[in-house]
């Protein structure tokens, strides 16, 4: 039998982890992809928050002389047909994507969680009704629902957030509901009842914290979807209106016409969107693996 280095094996399993720094290092080594995702997300948030300090140009200023400038020199990533600097628009576009993305995801998750929790915990006719409604809402593709809502609500930043948040609700509600149903039957809930705790207190103090883990996993996935839908809406002309710079709209303005003549208008905004969504997906996957109890040994 080959000689086994016990310490090496133990380190690989994470037994020698010491302190928060050690935990961080362990997380990075065990989930390299997730760490990369977290890095991307941090960069994204950083850029969005500190846009004013990072951008060299104003994203809205037009400059006829710089129209369709190639990347390099004055305009690092080039300029569009109105002479607006692409890099600046991408930086400020991050802000919009962040606001809409996080706003819509947060709104959708909060509403969905409330519905799921109530539905799963109290059951009865409320549950039945709500279940039917969620089923119906889920039958329509996300983009279609968001399109219809955006169209009927009208173009504005808040409306876009709402238009994306509402279609996200059914998925969240459903997941939280099934989680709640499972938790409701667990012994510790029975014990709380036996001690005389009111149903509401049990719901809030015992069941709710246990639904947070799957919620976090779901939220990161939904964030990616939200950002993609926002850019799709903008691309189709039904997203955030002018003057907010949006990556999706940057692409629609430059569509087929400039594909041949100004490829930088097509490449960079798309890279931005893909990178951010990629980051959320990587992070979401890693968090899911981390929180899955069966994965731990």
């Amino acid at each position: 039998m080959a000689v086994i280095d016990h310490d090496a094996q133990l380190s690989r399993a994470g037994a020698n982890v010491r302190g928060p720094l050690g935990s961080l290092v362990f997380f990075v080594r065990r989930y390299p992809l997730g760490a990369a995702g977290a890095l991307i997300m941090l960069a994204f948030v950083g850029v969005a928050v500190f846009a004013d300090f990072i951008a060299t140009h104003d994203p809205l200023t037009t400059n006829a002389r710089a129209s369709l400038a190639r990347p390099g020199g004055e305009n690092v990533l080039g300029a569009d047909f109105m002479g607006r600097d692409v890099l600046a628009r991408i930086i400020y576009g991050a802000r919009i994507s962040l606001i809409v993305g996080i706003g819509a995801t947060a709104l959708g998750c909060v509403i969905g969680m409330a519905i799921g929790l109530l539905s799963g915990f109290f059951g009865g006719w409320f549950d039945l009704l709500v279940q039917r409604l969620m089923d119906i809402m889920q039958s329509l593709p996300l983009l279609v629902m968001a399109l219809v809502m955006a169209a009927s609500l009208g173009p504005s930043l808040t409306n876009t957030i709402v238009a994306i948040a509402i279609p996200l609700v059914p998925t969240v509600a459903r997941t939280i509901r099934s989680n709640t149903l499972a938790l409701r039957e667990m012994p510790f809930v029975e014990a709380a009842r036996a001690v005389g705790m009111s149903e509401t207190r049990i719901a809030v103090q015992h069941v709710l914290p246990n639904t947070l883990a799957p919620l976090i996993v779901l939220a990161t996935a939904q964030l990616g979807s939200a950002i993609l839908v926002e850019s799709a809406l903008a691309f189709l002309g039904l997203g955030v209106p002018e003057p907010h710079p949006s990556w999706g709209r940057m692409l629609s303005e430059s569509a087929a016409e400039y594909v041949r003549t100004a490829p930088w208008l097509v490449i960079f905004p798309g890279v931005a969107i893909s990178a951010v969504v990629f980051g959320t997906n990587l992070l979401g996957d890693a968090i899911r693996d981390l929180l899955d109890p069966r994965q731990r040994f």
Partner: protein
């Protein structure tokens, strides 16, 4: 960390040839986890004679299932790893075989049945195909021959209307019948050794008795040696010829069954017996047992074992020596071995 007493003792027991069909020496399996090193099986040795029924007894977490999985080399790696030892079957060390060679051994020379028959059978395959697969893997290549033999096996394990059952799915059978089907699958190729890992724990009491009887009957008919893993002393009393008691990954006692019950030589074994009212009665205690005597404390975390005797923290007879030195595994009576400094204080039959 080898116990030299153990190794010398094993030398006397042969190596899987002659009278003993299976010979395990110093089997050690570790698990590498975030919580540290778990010594699930620590230097376990024993041997099994042809057609013998050996019971391995212990509470959850004592390492009996991991021992069984280690024999079959089915331990999940990572996080587990068989670190050292040898398992001799028919003159070959199973732990030294390549994976392909080991696959030829599994199901043919040594088989295993598991605790939960419902989840242990593939839900989308008929039981005929599942049993047939065992045959097609090792014995025959003809579908027809496999089918015929499958029906024979189903009949042998007492499943009524085997020709019909062959085409049924697991969920169509009752729990007891599923377990019978598993037994049929395990014995289809007539292995030398059958490992039964808590085969009755998930079944109703009446069915339990039937399955135990069935295993006993098949043992005699087919001459298969059986390792019965259980936490139920009742099952042990009814069926085993020899018993091994495990605690915290190690063997603490080993004896022929009657001797074990009459004269336990390890405080843990005695504790197990007196915590079951039925057995206390069985032993015809002179003094009445007024309350169940529980063993205080809990099984220690296998990643954090105390030095000296592992049972010391819970033992009624503990002394300083127990805490300092691990007691050697010695023959206390004829054919009866235990690892305890104070076996003699246990006396013949005391409450």
């Amino acid at each position: 960390m080898q116990h030299t007493a153990v190794t010398t003792e094993t030398m006397k027991q042969g190596r899987g040839t002659g009278d003993s069909v299976l010979s395990v020496e110093g089997l050690t399996t570790y698990f590498y986890t975030r919580g540290g090193l778990v010594k699930a099986v620590d230097g376990v040795s024993f041997s099994l004679k042809r057609g013998e029924m050996l019971a391995i007894v212990g509470e959850s977490g004592c390492g009996k299932s991991v021992t069984a999985l280690s024999l079959m080399r089915l331990v999940a790696d990572p996080p587990g790893r068989i670190v050292s030892g040898s398992v001799w079957l028919g003159g070959v060390d199973l732990l030294g075989l390549g994976e392909a060679a080991m696959r030829a051994v599994r199901g043919k020379e040594i088989s295993m049945i598991f605790q939960e028959p419902m989840t242990s059978l593939n839900p989308v395959m008929t039981i005929g195909r599942q049993i047939g697969e065992a045959l097609m893997l090792h014995e025959t290549t003809s579908r027809r021959a496999a089918l015929a033999r499958t029906i024979e096996m189903l009949h042998l394990v007492g499943i009524p209307e085997p020709k019909v059952r062959v085409n049924e799915y697991p969920h169509q059978l009752s729990g007891g019948m599923r377990q019978r089907a598993m037994i049929a699958m395990a014995l289809a190729c007539n292995p030398k050794v059958l490992i039964a890992d808590e085969p009755t724990s998930a079944l109703d009491v009446t069915i339990q008795a039937q399955i135990i009887d069935l295993i006993g009957k098949l043992r005699t008919e087919l001459g298969t040696a059986v390792i019965m893993i259980t936490h139920d002393l009742g099952v042990v009393a009814e069926t085993a010829e020899r018993v091994i008691v495990m605690y915290a990954g190690r063997k603490v006692e080993e004896a022929p069954v009657a001797d074990l019950f009459a004269h336990p030589r390890h405080p843990y074994t005695r504790g197990l017996m007196t915590s079951i009212p039925r057995l206390a009665l069985m032993r015809q205690e002179k003094t009445r047992v007024d309350r169940l005597q529980e063993i205080p404390g809990m099984v220690p975390a296998l990643s954090n074992l105390p030095p000296g005797c592992v049972f010391a923290p819970r033992c009624a007879f503990v002394s300083e020596q127990c805490r300092r030195e691990y007691p050697p595994y010695q023959e206390k009576r004829a054919g009866h071995w235990a690892s305890c400094w104070h076996s003699d204080r246990l006396g013949p039959a005391s409450a």
